[in-house]
């Protein structure tokens, strides 16, 4: 009888699917889609577009920094009144660095990275037909879209977008009279971020609940691919830290628009005292960094998860230390919440408190080192296949290590007095979180492009893109360490006035950085062209192009809404059975039972065979969960 119901359900699912295909119009299928794959692509394409805007902004301010005397009149058609007598307006320079940071951190590396891959991979890799709530998932994207529109609109207003740095510290951001960017631009920034946070919460709740509730039969937590573990912790980080930014932003909105004094106290502008008393600007910094620090890991963890998957697949070796990897992700997640004040060592904080935060900060080196060690040991004596995705993953490991090392220096509350707010910090976080996460994003795109669009990206263009980017990123950010050590503060418009011989020496270095940045940015066009071209004209993808073990490669080459035709496969083993001794094939997908591979089973795995019946017995329950 059970089988009968099963067939009935199957038929039902199938009919339902076909029924839906007829009904879905263009709008429901491509715009207000509830299909996680479409939403993922929407996030990806939005993220890529934002990345080009964010990148272009950095090129403009790099021109100013590298070539302070350059005539920028040719930019007038684009920038209009922001170019005054051939020079970049000083206020606009500040707007550029602010918007570059905001766009890259939130819109590209948060929404574009975890929005894309959490959405795309969670249902496919845990074996679910879609997210827990497709509707909320769709809302999540469209809230992000509206946030994007508001932020984008702020670029075009007369007083310019927000300019107080991406951290928007009050009182600079709280007082419209402080600078042009603190007027309407800041209001739009805050509105956009409020929408963005709502979008993140809806997305995050969905990711968490899908992972907990919709794993296919047999997919216990210890059989989840590391990508999913990373997305899980990322979502938890976002869920618990973004609401604090929401509170901080709401309080700031009240200070700006309704006369309260949460962050303001005893301020004189133009010799005149403002009425605000009793607030604390430091309070904002605490609230902001309670999000701001976890945000670093929100950006980085998905990239690390993607890297784990790609490195194991393309080394044709099991990931080294699967449980240690989960443990380190968990450790990073916990520590992320208790280190925020290391961004505030120089705010006049009690030095004892500083040493506590220093201690906690330095502990992060432990899980980070575990990760780096495990990546390298996975690569060690592997049968490495250098796909573009693999190159970007290895690039990530390289950037993660070289950027991470300076983190140990910056985490020291005494050294930070000297290095705080210098280019040393800029170099550090661009390597360890900016570029590393960007590399994770690129690795993910190259690796899962065949699943997303059913076609392959051009490999040669991928290699060229990688080498330009990899060498370029080091050329841009490595010299910044020296500039920072020499004491150059970040966000300064120009250093020419500093004038003495030693400082002037760095003009060459700034010039070098700018040229490298321009080349690196231009090289991204190779990616853009490859991406767009391959969507339409790329080589057709085979079923499992990277001979990978995870469940997404068991779906049809271009999965329809619902992902699997017929039953969702059951899972019997972990996702890293690569090059298993005794096995004829060098990979054994997760849905292959141990009873089918007696030649390669370890003794303890033979015991697992007994559980196969139990796992299969869950089919009814699993099917019923899709029918209410």
């Amino acid at each position: 009888m059970a089988t009968e119901t099963l067939h009935a359900i199957d038929a039902h699912v199938h009919l339902h699917d076909e029924h839906e295909h007829h009904e879905l119009g263009f709008v429901q299928k491509y715009i207000f889609s509830e299909d996680h794959k479409t939403i993922a692509k929407q996030y990806l394409i939005s993220g890529i577009i934002w990345a080009f805007f964010g990148g272009a902004m950095s090129i403009i301010f790099r021109l100013q920094l590298g070539f302070p005397n350059m005539d920028l009149t040719w930019l007038k058609p684009v920038l209009g009144q922001w170019i005054v007598e051939g020079k970049l307006e000083k206020e606009f320079y500040l707007a550029l660095v602010t918007m570059h940071g905001t766009i890259m951190v939130f819109f590209v590396l948060t929404a574009g990275l975890s929005g894309t891959f959490s959405n795309f991979l969670i249902p496919l890799q845990v074996g679910a037909r879609d997210m827990a709530s497709g509707f909320i998932n769709m809302l999540s994207y469209w809230f992000f879209f509206v946030a994007s529109v508001v932020m984008f609109a702020s670029l075009f207003i007369e007083t310019g977008p927000a300019s107080g740095g991406w951290v928007i510290y009050p009182p600079l951001s709280a007082l419209p009279q402080a600078m042009p960017g603190s007027g309407l631009g800041m209001t739009l920034w805050l509105s956009s971020m409020a929408l963005f946070i709502i979008s993140q919460l809806m997305g995050g709740i969905n990711y968490i609940c899908t992972i907990i509730n919709l794993r296919t039969r047999g997919m216990s937590f210890t059989k989840l691919p590391l990508t999913i573990w990373a997305f899980f912790f990322t979502a938890i980080l976002g869920l618990l830290s973004f609401p604090v930014l929401l509170s901080a932003a709401l309080l700031l909105i009240f200070d700006r628009s309704f006369g309260t004094s949460f962050y303001l106290s005893e301020i004189y502008i133009g010799g005149e005292a403002l009425p605000n008393i009793g607030g604390s600007a430091i309070l904002y910094q605490h609230l902001f960094w309670f999000l701001g620090h976890p945000e670093v890991y929100i950006v980085l963890l998905p990239a690390l998860g993607i890297t784990s998957e790609i490195i194991a697949t393309n080394s044709r070796k099991p990931i080294f230390g699967y449980r240690a990897m989960i443990g380190s992700l968990m450790g990073i997640t916990l520590l992320a919440f208790i280190v925020w004040a290391h961004h505030m060592f120089v705010t006049g904080m009690n030095p004892f408190l500083g040493s506590v935060f220093m201690f906690l900060t330095l502990i992060i080196a432990v899980p980070s080192a575990v990760k780096a060690f495990n990546y390298i040991t996975t690569l060690w004596r592997g049968n490495i296949i250098f796909t573009p995705a693999m190159l970007f993953s290895i690039g990530l490991v390289s950037l993660f290590i070289s950027g991470g090392l300076t983190g140990i220096i910056l985490g020291n509350s005494a050294l930070d007095i000297n290095l705080h707010d210098t280019y040393f910090v800029v170099a550090h976080f661009h390597l360890v979180m900016g570029a590393a996460s960007f590399f994770g994003l690129m690795a993910g795109v190259y690796h899962w492009f065949p699943k997303m669009f059913g076609r392959m990206m051009n490999k040669t263009a991928g290699y060229i893109h990688f080498w330009f980017t990899f060498v370029g990123v080091y050329c841009v950010f490595f010299p910044m360490h020296y500039i920072g050590l020499a004491g150059f503060p970040r966000r300064y418009y120009s250093f020419t006035a500093l004038g003495n011989g030693r400082m002037e020496a760095f003009v060459d270095m700034n010039m070098f950085i700018s040229i490298a940045a321009i080349i690196t940015f231009t090289a991204q066009a190779i990616f853009a062209i490859n991406f767009v071209y391959s969507i339409f004209k790329g080589k057709r993808a085979p079923q499992n192009p990277w001979s990978s073990n995870t469940l997404e490669w068991t779906t049809p080459i271009v999965p329809e809404h619902g992902n699997w035709v017929g039953e969702i496969p059951a899972v019997y083993r972990w996702p890293y059975d690569y090059s298993k001794p005794g096995s004829a094939s060098d990979f054994i997908p997760q849905n292959v039972p141990y009873s089918a591979t007696p030649e390669s089973n370890f003794p303890e795995e033979n015991e697992e065979m007994a559980k196969e019946k139990e796992i299969e017995g869950l089919l009814d329950i699993q099917n019923s969960s899709y029918n209410h």
Partner: protein, 250 residues
């Protein structure tokens, strides 16, 4: 078909996939995680309250001799000591106590509605939802009175004085006759933020009541939606307990 009628999963397979662990539907789970995240929103606000409050001077004299001044933080039971229609009566924290009681009581009626839902008793669900809505609306009404009383301010003779020595007439986000302006800022912001939550809760409760009354849940076969909104409602109550503690008791 519902989660409630799904076949049982052997306990050792709870986390083995293919089923909802511990029979928690994704909808309930989503509500729990949302509440967890909202906890952090409120925590941030209460931390803000704590930090600003303790950076202000506390009143150090005798309780009976307390007076409103912008130089020390007011004692709550001197601020909130009025009752509607009983002008001049000194009733410290009585009104807010009644409000709190009403809100907590509405949580009890919500529990009864959820319980009625488990039994599939439509009439009882309707009855208890109606009581819950009434409780929520009464709380909101009381808060409106509390706010308007606060905004109106104490009699000028007792009000705190501004820098120029004039009595401060009435409270808003900029001035506060009871003490430092931050007190009023935080009072309006935090109770307002909580009130917004209660307001959305009442709207949700009305929707639930409407759906129950029109038989939507009966046709669906289960009243899980009542439970989900119930979770939210209890959370809003719980948050009030903290807001109450911070603003009125500490």
């Amino acid at each position: 078909m519902s989660a409630i009628h799904a076949p049982a999963v052997p306990e050792k397979l709870t986390w083995s996939g293919g089923s909802e662990p511990m029979k928690a539907s994704y909808g309930k789970l989503m509500m729990w995680f949302f509440l967890l995240s909202d906890t952090f929103t409120f925590s941030a606000l209460l931390v803000t309250y704590g930090m600003i409050r303790f950076s202000n001077n506390a009143y150090s004299g005798a309780h009976e001799a307390f007076f409103f001044s912008t130089t020390h933080w007011p004692i709550p039971d001197k601020v909130f000591s009025a009752l509607p229609f009983l002008h001049g009566l000194e009733a410290p924290l009585i009104f807010v106590g009644i409000m709190t009681f009403i809100l907590i009581f509405s949580s009890v009626t919500m529990v009864l509605a959820v319980e009625a839902g488990h039994r599939g008793d439509r009439a009882d669900v309707e009855k208890w939802m109606l009581w819950t809505i009434l409780g929520g609306a009464t709380f909101l009404g009381s808060q409106a009175w509390e706010w308007s009383h606060f905004i109106h301010g104490p009699e000028l003779a007792f009000a705190a004085k501004d820098v120029a020595g004039n009595a401060i007439d009435g409270a808003n986000l900029v001035r506060n006759p009871y003490g430092p302006p931050a007190f009023a800022d935080l009072f309006f912001f935090i109770t307002g933020f909580h009130g917004t939550h209660v307001f959305s809760g009442v709207i949700l409760n009305i929707l639930i009541f409407f759906n129950a009354a029109t038989g939507v849940y009966e046709r669906r076969g289960h009243y899980e939606m009542v439970e989900k909104v119930g979770l939210y409602w209890h959370f809003v109550d719980l948050v009030w307990v903290f807001v109450f503690t911070f603003f009125y008791l500490v």
